[in-house]
């Protein structure tokens, strides 16, 4: 899967929405509430399953529950292949995120602040990768590397990941740029800042929340990507690739542990950002 806007919502959570009006409690609302809770629980079942089974007593396969054990967690680094795959995914994610963030931020700024021709074409070029099925993206790049004669490996993987991340970075950062009053940068120039200083001391710090959201999104997309990676990575193994091939026989519980760690980390990060944003709002309301 690793579909189109996976994790794009990280940017969405930057600002909690302001209610237009509060609905009165009605009987119908209770029905919807109950239904929604059921659905949310269902959504989380596989996640719970994965986390729970990371605590399974280790054995050859990890499909039936034998009992609670911390062994998998303590022997986390014991299976070199899992560790390598996990590390590879992190590496690819970080590199691809950095490059995509740079390229995407530049495009976002140009889109909002400047006039230029071929705007429609550019918008299309940014939109289409999100509307193209991953098998097409993957087999396309795979064929291309083949035709050119490039060996597939970590480099080709990173190249592919950057490609599908750029559009999402543009979307996320663009919203942030659009909310910036250009007069602020003009004030910087007016106050004796050179263009470089305007960028580093004014524009970049103000764009940073958007860039960070874009980076998180980009990393999530890259880390979880399977289909495109399958076509372009050759023998280089990322974490999802490892899971796919291991799924034939048995997936070692260490994979569950890694996945649980990422999940819990992500949840903590999101919750923390929400709380800090709420705390910031309360502080501003108090002092202002």
């Amino acid at each position: 899967m690793s579909g189109l806007a996976e994790g794009a919502v990280l940017g969405r959570l930057e600002e909690a929405p302001r209610p237009l009006k509060r609905p009165r409690a009605r009987r119908g609302n209770w029905g919807v509430a109950f239904y929604s809770i059921v659905i949310l629980v269902l959504l989380l079942i596989p996640i719970g399953y994965t986390i729970v089974f990371s605590f399974n007593i280790p054995a050859r396969t990890n499909v039936s529950w034998r009992g609670f054990s911390l062994d998998n967690w303590s022997t986390l680094l014991s299976d070199p292949r899992v560790v390598a795959a996990f590390g590879s995914s992190i590496l690819v994610g970080v590199v691809a995120t950095l490059v995509a963030a740079a390229l995407g931020t530049a495009i976002a700024i140009a889109l909002v602040r400047f006039r230029f021709r071929f705007r429609t074409g550019l918008t299309l070029l940014l939109f289409l990768p999100m509307a193209t099925p991953e098998v097409v993206l993957g087999s396309g790049l795979g064929s291309q590397f083949l035709n050119i004669g490039v060996d597939k490996g970590i480099a080709t993987t990173i190249i592919a990941h950057i490609m599908f991340c750029i559009s999402f970075v543009v979307i996320t950062v663009r919203a942030r740029v659009a909310s910036l009053d250009p007069a602020i940068e003009e004030a910087g120039r007016d106050l004796y800042a050179t263009p470089g200083q305007v960028w580093w001391r004014i524009t970049f710090p103000l764009l940073l929340p958007g860039i960070v959201a874009a980076a998180l999104l980009s990393f999530a997309l890259s880390f979880d990507d399977f289909i495109i990676t399958a076509f372009v990575s050759g023998n280089f193994e990322t974490f999802p690739k490892y899971i796919y091939t291991a799924a034939v026989r048995a997936i070692p519980a260490q994979a569950n542990v890694f996945a649980s760690i990422i999940f819990l980390l992500a949840i903590v990060v999101v919750l923390a950002s929400q709380f800090s944003a709420a705390a910031r709002r309360r502080k501003l309301a108090r002092e202002g």
Partner: protein, 383 residues
């Protein structure tokens, strides 16, 4: 990098400035000199080019043609950060991620001035906001933000301070207060202020010199009283306050005045207050200069009379009452009468005459309503 001058500001000269944008010309061949140390207002409606002029002086736009000189030095090709000019923006444009103190000290840091924070505190004391130095802009009210923006600009002691409608977002009472404060600060610090606004009352209250701008050109420039009592074009006559304008033929003239025929009545205008002395001219008089009479006055020299007419509207507005008088053949005349007594002097439907001293009339260089000088206000914003 910019070396701000330590003395009391510098002359600003705009020579033959033209600015064209794709699709329209904002400014055509503008010439303007602003003497050092003065409070200068650039007044005009939306889209007249005043903000563009300001941005050209700041360096945020480049002129299509012409030169800009500050203190005699040609800065046309200099970037904004190289010019000894600072701007107070309409939206204040405070840096949201910095404290008030850092905002004010920003320019000082960029220029490498010593003791930037000390100077910043001083500037904040000047605008009476030193106690909020540690706050963020988001925690300040509109009026406070405006004062921080002012302090941020002034602390750099620029040769020229540009103000882009800085009081627009403030409520009336605060605006009046800030007008006085700005004026007194300018007196204290002695910088040259260039204030851009569409509020004619604001311009007249604060400025030493006002230039009325329309459609990329300056129609008239001078001291506020001069502009008000002796407008030279229909636009200025209508934009600054209100005017009663009449168009007619010059039928005779003397050494000191011209006589114009308005629907049968002969009206006199002093020669030195009329821009044109022959042909079809538009003359005018301010509503507050008119006297309402319930009986036809005896003709006297030095007095113009129009009438009889009918009072069609009476509007009480506290200090004065506005009367609309319909004079057949002439049109509607507006009269402002100070409320010296309780209640209106005349009622609707009454038959009245209006009179005024000849010396209070003026003659315009153009005709009213010939070319509509306002563009309809449907553009995306200020030009």
């Amino acid at each position: 990098m910019a070396g701000a001058l330590d003395d009391s500001g510098a002359d600003l000269e705009l020579v033959g400035i033209t600015k064209r944008f794709p699709g329209f010309t904002a400014i055509e061949n503008l010439n303007l000199t602003i003497p050092a140390g003065s409070f200068f207002a650039l007044l005009g409606p939306s889209g007249c080019g005043k903000t563009t002029t300001l941005r050209l002086v700041a360096g945020l736009e480049t002129p299509t043609a012409g030169r800009i000189l500050i203190g005699g030095k040609d800065v046309t090709d200099s970037k904004p950060h190289q010019r000894p000019v600072n701007t107070v923006f309409q939206s204040y444009a405070l840096f949201p991620h910095m404290t008030v103190l850092r905002n004010v000290a920003f320019g000082l840091y960029r220029r490498g001035v010593s003791n930037p924070l000390g100077l910043a505190h001083e500037a904040l004391r000047l605008v009476e906001l030193d106690h909020l130095a540690g706050r963020r802009p988001a925690q300040l009210s509109g009026g406070q933000q405006q004062r921080v923006a002012l302090a941020r600009a002034i602390v750099n002691k620029p040769a020229l301070l540009l103000l882009d409608e800085p009081l627009g977002a403030l409520d009336l009472k605060l605006r009046r207060q800030m007008q006085l404060e700005l004026k007194s600060i300018q007196d204290d610090v002695g910088l040259t202020f260039l204030h851009v606004t569409h509020d004619q009352e604001e311009a007249m209250t604060m400025a030493d010199t006002v230039a009325v701008m329309n459609r990329g050109e300056i129609e008239q420039m001078g001291a506020p009283e001069e502009l008000y009592e002796l407008p030279k074009t229909a636009f200025v006559a209508n934009f600054l306050g209100q005017s009663n304008l009449f168009t007619g033929n010059v039928v005779s003239s003397t050494a000191t005045s011209i006589v114009v025929d308005i629907a049968g009545t002969k009206l006199e205008v002093p020669r030195d207050r009329a821009q044109r002395h022959s042909g079809v001219v538009t003359i005018g008089v301010r509503p507050e200069k008119l006297t309402l009479l319930t009986e036809k006055p005896a003709s006297a020299s030095g007095v113009n009379v129009l009438g009889p007419g009918t009072v069609t509207d009476v509007s009480f507005s506290g200090v004065s009452t506005q009367y609309l008088v319909e004079v057949p053949g002439v049109g509607t005349i507006t009269v402002f009468a100070q409320n010296m007594v309780f209640g209106p002097v005349v009622n609707r439907g009454s038959e009245v005459w209006v009179s005024w001293t000849v010396d209070h009339g003026f003659g315009l260089a153009d005709e009213q309503g010939v070319s509509p000088r306002f563009d309809p206000d449907d553009g995306p914003g200020e030009v």
